[in-house]
Symmetry: C2
Subunit: 211 residues, 2 copies
């Protein structure tokens, strides 16, 4: 369908911000928006917005701006969130549970469909309609349901081992909450959330003048 698409990393990171803003504008009934306005709402310049959009096609109407509806659709399609992704959660500790019940996933195109843990006291309990299953079941369930994305919320010590097993089961993207750099094969995506690192960035900004 699309030939060969190369999106610079910074542009890729901004895409979800554009989408978030555009969905809000659509909700508010706005039909079209120009690059300057959209940029101002997100803290970018108009030129930045236009360059970003130009990487994946030509949409704007000179003198008018961009169709909010069309842009939403196109960005969702590029990000792959025009469909719903099934997600597996590994680790039913506090973070795993909080994320499993996170209410904003579903209208953004993600649906938690399975939860795994190794703690015998937790296995079998129910979280939002899903029985917590032993991690040993991962290898069976993930290919069976053709799950591609996983959320890894386990202790640092076992994170790499479980990541390996996820990849072996067919997962192509891991959202990692353990403060460790996961080694994964080429073609597998990892996106990490490290609460301590985030706080450290704040401490640094507060300590040094300009970063």
């Amino acid at each position: 369908m699309d030939e060969r698409l190369r999106i610079p990393k910074p542009t890729a990171r901004r895409l979800s911000l554009y989408l978030r803003e555009l969905e809000a504008l659509k909700e508010a009934g706005l039909v079209s928006i120009n690059s300057t306005q959209l940029g101002k709402a997100l803290g970018f310049t108009g030129a930045q917005v236009r360059k970003d959009f130009a990487t994946f096609g030509t949409f704007g109407r000179p003198g008018v701006g961009y169709s909010v509806f069309h842009l939403c659709g196109t960005i969702k399609q590029i990000m792959g969130t025009d469909r719903t992704w099934d997600v597996a959660v590994v680790g039913a500790g506090k973070i795993g549970l909080a994320i499993t019940t996170y209410p904003r996933f579903i209208d953004r195109g993600f649906k938690v469909v399975a939860i795994f843990d190794n703690n015998p006291n937790i296995i079998g309990t129910t979280v939002t309609n899903h029985k917590v299953r032993p991690v040993a079941d991962m290898t069976r369930i993930i290919p069976l349901r053709d799950i591609r994305l996983a959320i890894l919320a386990v202790p640092v010590t076992v994170a790499q081992e479980l990541a390996d097993r996820l990849v072996a089961s067919g997962i192509t993207g891991i959202l990692n909450f353990a403060p460790v750099r996961l080694r994964v094969p080429d073609g597998i995506g990892v996106s990490s959330v490290d609460f301590s690192r985030s706080l450290e960035q704040l401490a640094l900004e507060t300590s040094i003048d300009f970063c």
Copy 2:
């Protein structure tokens, strides 16, 4: 003490990764490390590592490498985590509670010392020794305890308003979990964690070849 320090943003982001790795190496008893090894462990080139360290001084010994101990100390000092930062948590929902009890903060230089919420059913309950207080108390407690960092884990609809109140109370850095861009005055740091965005990045990487 230091004259005027300018750290490029990408370097700043890598600093906490260096620290994490170096602490592990120190723990393992390693005395010195060279830029190539350290880089390999984190996925950077040796030149990158040396340039990064060069932004804040001259440490390495040609022919030998860097003192793990010295480097840890220096990076911590620059990041401001050679002391412990008191942190306030706003929002005692699932995410707020998970983060309040997150066990890895303390040895990274952060300590949750107060929790606020507005839900009458939650106010007064106890989480890890801390009574959940009404948000109205923020304005009093934060200056009183001289708290600089806050974790904001509240619904999108009230995030901006609470951010304003945090800033007014003297907070200089906010770790934001709400999927919204917070508007804050110059000099106030914001670092955001958006679970949906993180998953979207993975979906995008899985959909497109190279980002």
